[in-house]
């Protein structure tokens, strides 16, 4: 990220979510971004994940300048390169665990059910595949969310407060699962305000008021 700023118009005022961020993450690195609420952590993830565009500056991910991509290219970038895990799981309530995992390929005929089943098995959820999200515990829902993020075998895994809505034991298990992804060469960027979670990462970056706190 080079001199990246992101502002939002809120009626008459403008909110500066990120202010001149310069950040570089190596391939295969596990980075934790910490900071208080409203420091711009989620905005940072959205920019790296191609969900949002910067107001100023450039975001280069895997050799692509995301600022220059068309809407269609950005969608393809997300589908092929990024896996996202959210604090509130964001599973589709009327789809079972298996269908939630395969959702990104719902319009494709060659959607690999075997891969989804393998992921469910690896994450200890094989016997829960036909359950709806409402029938799963918080930890199970987060593991389904992780399986969905891993389904497309992405190069980058972005996790926005993945342990924020599960108990401590399950939180540690989720972080371990994320960390395990390093062996496949995946870059992991985790956002948390829990320092115990962040300490599991290779490097910690702290954000405050939309800026990187010099460390």
């Amino acid at each position: 990220m080079i001199d990246v700023s992101r502002t939002y118009d809120m009626g008459t005022s403008t909110v500066m979510a990120l202010d001149g961020i310069n950040l570089s993450v190596s391939r295969g690195e596990f980075l934790a971004v910490v900071g208080p609420s409203g420091s711009g952590k989620s905005t940072l993830l959205n920019l790296i994940g191609g969900l949002d565009r910067p107001s100023e500056g450039r975001v280069r991910v895997l050799g692509s300048d995301l600022s220059n991509l068309s809407e269609e290219e950005m969608t393809r970038f997300r589908r092929e390169n990024v896996g996202m895990v959210f604090q509130f799981f964001h599973l589709i309530p009327h789809l079972n665990a298996l269908d939630n995992i395969m959702i990104s390929r719902m319009f494709e005929a060659d959607c690999s059910v075997e891969r989804a089943l393998r992921l469910l098995d690896q994450l200890g959820l094989k016997d829960r595949m036909s359950h709806l999200p409402g029938e799963l515990s918080g930890g199970e829902q987060q593991r389904v969310s992780l399986a969905r993020a891993l389904f497309n075998e992405p190069d980058i895994l972005l996790a926005d407060e993945p342990t924020g809505n599960v108990d401590t034991k399950m939180g540690s298990s989720i972080v371990k699962l994320l960390k395990d992804q390093k062996k496949w060469g995946r870059t992991i960027i985790l956002v948390s305000h829990d320092m115990n979670v962040a300490r599991e990462a290779d490097r910690i970056v702290e954000l405050k008021d939309g800026r990187v706190v010099p460390g």
Partner: protein, 195 residues
């Protein structure tokens, strides 16, 4: 969905009566009349002038019923569009999730169109069944079959009529879904995820 089913049933009924009526006009009364069923009213209509006036009245009635039928299709389309708009707001987060995992704007729009077409197809099936019962059973029993009704020919529902009702339904469904689908596909994923 209920309003769409009603529209289809009404359309089938009106068209079936209209088709029966046109055969009545082209073919004359005899083929449809039971041998001993001539009422005084029917005897009067053997006079060509009186018969012409009677057919004109029926034709006008059927034409107006067609107008009502088509107007109710427009109302049903507005109903479908409204349901889809409400559904779009309820499913805002779901749209955000789909966009976040890499579903394109066009594919999100397609989902809404498919939802509408599914709704329309269900309405069509219910409507056709109701229309067939109304025209070929209830109407024929009440107004034809020599029971003194104003129509002499039974309602007719050829397959092409059912097919044209399907085409109208699909067109109405797609047209009604267009605006909600466009709005859903234009949603900003970050804002949608916030709900």
């Amino acid at each position: 969905m209920l309003s769409m089913s009603t529209c289809v049933a009404f359309f089938i009924l009106v068209s079936s009566i209209s088709l029966g009526l046109s055969e009545d006009i082209q073919g004359g009364l005899d083929p449809f009349l039971p041998p001993d069923s001539q009422t005084p009213q029917e005897t009067a209509l053997e006079d060509p002038e009186a018969r012409e006036v009677d057919e004109d009245t029926k034709q006008t009635l059927v034409h107006w019923l067609y107008v009502i039928s088509l107007a109710s299709f427009v109302a049903a389309a507005a109903g479908i569009a409204n349901i889809l708009l409400v559904s779009m707001h309820q499913r805002k987060k779901e749209i955000g999730i789909l966009r976040a995992v890499g579903i394109s704007r066009e594919e999100v729009g397609r989902l809404f169109i498919l939802d509408a077409l599914w709704m329309v197809l269900m309405s069509f099936i219910i409507g056709v069944l109701a229309g067939l019962i109304l025209s070929n059973n209830i109407f024929n029993w009440m107004f034809v079959d020599g029971r003194g009704g104003m129509f002499f020919a039974p309602a007719r529902t050829p397959p092409v009529l059912v097919l044209s009702a399907l085409v109208i339904c699909l067109f109405v469904g797609a047209a009604a879904a267009y605006y909600p689908a466009k709005k859903a596909s234009a949603m900003d994923p970050v804002a949608a995820l916030r709900g």
